[in-house]
């Protein structure tokens, strides 16, 4: 697409992905906006939605809201990378006529193109009104925070006696007691046990389905016992506890096991004594599974060779449940992008278009309307293509997979599908590089901390909490060395957590 392309098409495609010459990687509108305004609340928990400027991002007929219209006028046909200048030009305007300038709205995290969205100034009552309250609203209240953290992390409120004893302490002792309580709670069954809070955080990432489970408490239908997702749930929880590195959700090459509230890790699958052989048991063996003495496939957890294992990305469950029979497993890649980096491509989040996607599997992804997302998604997916789902090399790394598994079904171009792809517009040679780039990204640190923020706060950061949240995930990356437990100790000290 030439530079003289009308702005109306250019910027619509740039928001959604689509405009890119084959040779160029073009960042999206939301990404450019966050480069220009890195501290804006809308950028704190990810990238803003296209609806910040658009009413529609349909490449054939894009439309803008009043803020988008003003930005388009300010750009006046300039390339989209002049966005920062255009933002400065419209900062003092009140595009949506709600009484707040665009700059005020962007600083407050509200939508400058939507008159129904306007900054609300939190109003705290006068001190005199607060005398009789149980808790000190509008500022950190240790008693409130103590009860809250007991419920959040231990799953129960403190006893009256413990609460009274805590209340009698001085501020410094209260703070110590809170952190001691947090440490105790993080060891609890409620937090780290089977189906505890950490497992619950993993559910939406792993998406377990009992009717397909092998291992302990398997599917009643033997032929449907494809993999044991307990491994995935356990591995996730393992990376979130004690002094473990949360990046291992993407980098681990080991196995984790849970016994009560105790997690252990080992380089190879555990032989599970709880999976004893039953009399007259007759069932087929399966590659990549641990077999009991009857030869039944139990503990089907991770079949990939150690040097190709990438934490939660390459487990047997993910291979068979997400990739299944697919040549280019976009579903697997999109789920990883959503679960660990916080970007849902279905919502046009995290778009970093890398040229017009080649249509290796003859699905029409190079059509203009499809390329909007697939320019990011397909490049994101190529590194996953060498990991088999169902097939001769079930749930294994198979470098020749595209040549040997799919030629007849997907057309002649499928064999040309590269293993190299791109993440955040950065080239990656294979899934190992993909995972390394992902684990080192701001998106990973932000998404990891965001899940705990939402768990404890009940939702994403409000505009006035944005700075606190940004500090938290920056510190998680820069000072806590990706240790969740250390981050949680900082979290409970924030006013966002402890102010009723």
């Amino acid at each position: 697409m030439a530079r003289s392309t009308p702005l109306i098409v250019l910027s619509a495609l740039a928001c959604s992905v689509g405009w890119v010459s084959a040779a160029n990687a073009e960042p999206s509108g939301p990404a450019l906006m966050c480069e220009a305004l890195p501290d804006a609340p809308l950028c704190a928990a990810g990238l803003p939605q296209c609806s910040l400027c658009h009413e529609s991002t349909d490449p054939a007929m894009p439309t803008w809201n009043p803020f988008g219209d003003d930005l388009a006028l300010a750009l006046d046909g300039d390339p989209f990378d002049q966005l920062e200048m255009a933002l400065a030009a419209v900062s003092d305007l009140d595009s949506d006529g709600d009484g707040f300038t665009n700059d005020e709205e962007l600083e407050a995290g509200t939508a400058p193109g939507d008159p129904a969205s306007a900054p609300a100034v939190p109003m705290c009552p006068d001190d005199a009104d607060l005398e009789d309250l149980l808790y000190r609203i509008c500022s950190y209240d240790a008693q409130y925070a103590y009860r809250r953290l007991s419920l959040d992390f231990c799953g129960r409120q403190p006893s009256f006696e413990a609460y009274e004893a805590f209340s009698a302490l001085g501020p410094a002792e209260q703070r110590d007691a809170m952190h001691d309580t947090l440490d105790t709670c993080l060891q609890s069954e409620f937090w780290r046990g089977r189906d505890g809070v950490l497992w619950q955080l993993a559910y939406s990432k792993v998406r377990p389905v009992h009717s397909l489970k092998s291992g302990l408490d398997p599917s009643p239908l033997t032929q449907l016992q494809i993999a044991d997702y307990d491994h995935d749930l356990t591995l996730f929880a393992y990376t979130q506890i004690d002094d473990h590195d949360a990046r291992d959700v993407l980098l681990a090459d080991y196995f984790a096991r849970l016994d009560g509230t105790t997690y252990t890790a080992a380089p190879e699958p555990f032989e599970d004594s709880g999976l004893a052989c039953e009399e007259d048991e007759d069932c087929p063996a399966a590659e990549g599974c641990f077999q009991n003495t009857c030869g039944c496939f139990v503990g089907c957890t991770q079949a990939v060779i150690p040097e190709r294992r990438q934490g939660m990305l390459t487990t047997r469950w993910i291979a068979l449940y997400s990739t299944m029979f697919t040549a280019i497993p976009r579903n697997t890649a999109a789920q990883a992008y959503r679960a660990y980096l916080g970007f849902d491509i279905a919502k046009q989040e995290g778009l970093y278009p890398v040229g017009t996607p080649a249509d290796y599997d003859n699905k029409g992804v190079d059509e203009e309307t499809c390329a909007v997302c697939h320019s990011t998604l397909d490049a994101l997916t190529y590194p996953f293509t060498r990991f088999s789902g169902f097939g001769p090399q079930r749930a294994l790394y198979f470098p020749e997979r595209m040549e040997h598994e799919f030629f007849a079904h997907e057309g002649p171009d499928i064999a040309n599908t590269p293993e190299a792809g791109s993440l955040f517009g950065q080239p990656v040679a294979d899934l190992r590089e993909w995972a390394q780039v992902a684990a080192a990204s701001d998106a990973f640190a932000r998404a990891t901390v965001l899940q705990y923020w939402e768990l404890t706060m009940g939702g994403p950061p409000s505009p006035e909490q944005t700075e606190t949240f940004a500090t938290l995930w920056h510190d998680f990356r820069d000072h806590h060395d990706y240790r969740v437990q250390a981050m949680l100790h900082d979290l409970i000290d924030t006013e966002a957590y402890g102010a009723p």
Partner: protein, 250 residues
């Protein structure tokens, strides 16, 4: 048990329909946040609660002619952050078992023995059901959550009060029974019962107004069709305290 439960529900209905004190007339059908606010509504110390009386005096009915001439007290200050969370099934189960000293299995069951918190009402109470239903994240507090809370708490309270009535070493309810199945609410054990519910459930002592409100409820139940008004008062008091916003949310 079924007869006693029916009797109690009739009593509760009478109270809820206006026969009881002001706080007790709160309906519990319009959302979890309004489930039985008899206790917290009279508390001067609960931020964000919809206080109907914040003095230590018992509530008075000065509306003989049907017109309330008293001046409405100003609403209490509210937090601008609304940093409040519903406990959900597991935390509710944990706290109810601790407050009432019941095993989780004793707390509440439906349809012949299925756990209210771990099975029947788990999703309604904001829990997840990943393995069989594919509900990986809480669906939020739905329209049936208040009903589930009511059923859970009512069963749990009935269990505790009935166990205490039969025990020589009651955990909470040690109020002497009088003729006609009434309770001797003049006995110090009645106040101790209320205080025990508050300290265990709300981590504080009740105000004088809260105590009096709950004691006065006995008179309403005594003139209802209840067969065991003393026992039903105990259940209603337990139910009232443990369905306050102060207990259910944090």
């Amino acid at each position: 048990m079924r007869l006693e439960a029916s009797s109690f529900l009739v009593s509760l209905l009478l109270v809820a329909c206006g026969g009881g004190p002001a706080g007790a007339s709160q309906s519990s059908t319009d959302g979890a946040e309004s489930t039985g606010d008899v206790a917290s509504d009279t508390s001067p110390t609960a931020p964000g609660s919809t206080t109907s009386a914040d003095t230590d005096e018992p509530p008075e009915d000065d509306s003989d002619d049907g017109t309330d001439t008293s001046e409405e007290p100003p609403p209490p200050p509210t937090s601008p952050t609304a940093n409040v969370h519903f406990k959900g099934p597991q935390r509710l189960e944990n706290d109810l078992t601790a407050v009432l000293e019941l095993d989780a299995e004793e707390l509440c069951t439906e349809v012949g023995g299925a756990s209210c918190t771990q099975d029947v009402h788990k999703v309604a109470l904001g829990g997840v059901a990943p393995y069989d239903l594919g509900i990986y994240t809480p669906a939020g507090i739905g329209a049936t959550a208040p009903i589930a809370v009511d059923r859970l708490t009512l069963q749990a309270c009935m269990r505790r009060i009935d166990l205490d009535r039969e025990s020589s070493d009651p955990v909470l309810f040690a109020v002497p029974q009088l003729g006609g199945g009434t309770a001797d609410i003049g006995d110090p054990s009645a106040v101790a019962f209320i205080d025990g519910l508050y300290t265990r459930g709300l981590l504080r002592h009740p105000t004088e107004a809260e105590t009096q409100t709950l004691l006065l409820m006995h008179a309403d139940i005594a003139v209802s069709d209840s067969l065991l008004p003393g026992r039903d008062w105990g259940v209603a008091t337990c139910f009232a305290v443990l369905t306050t916003t102060e207990f259910l949310f944090y």
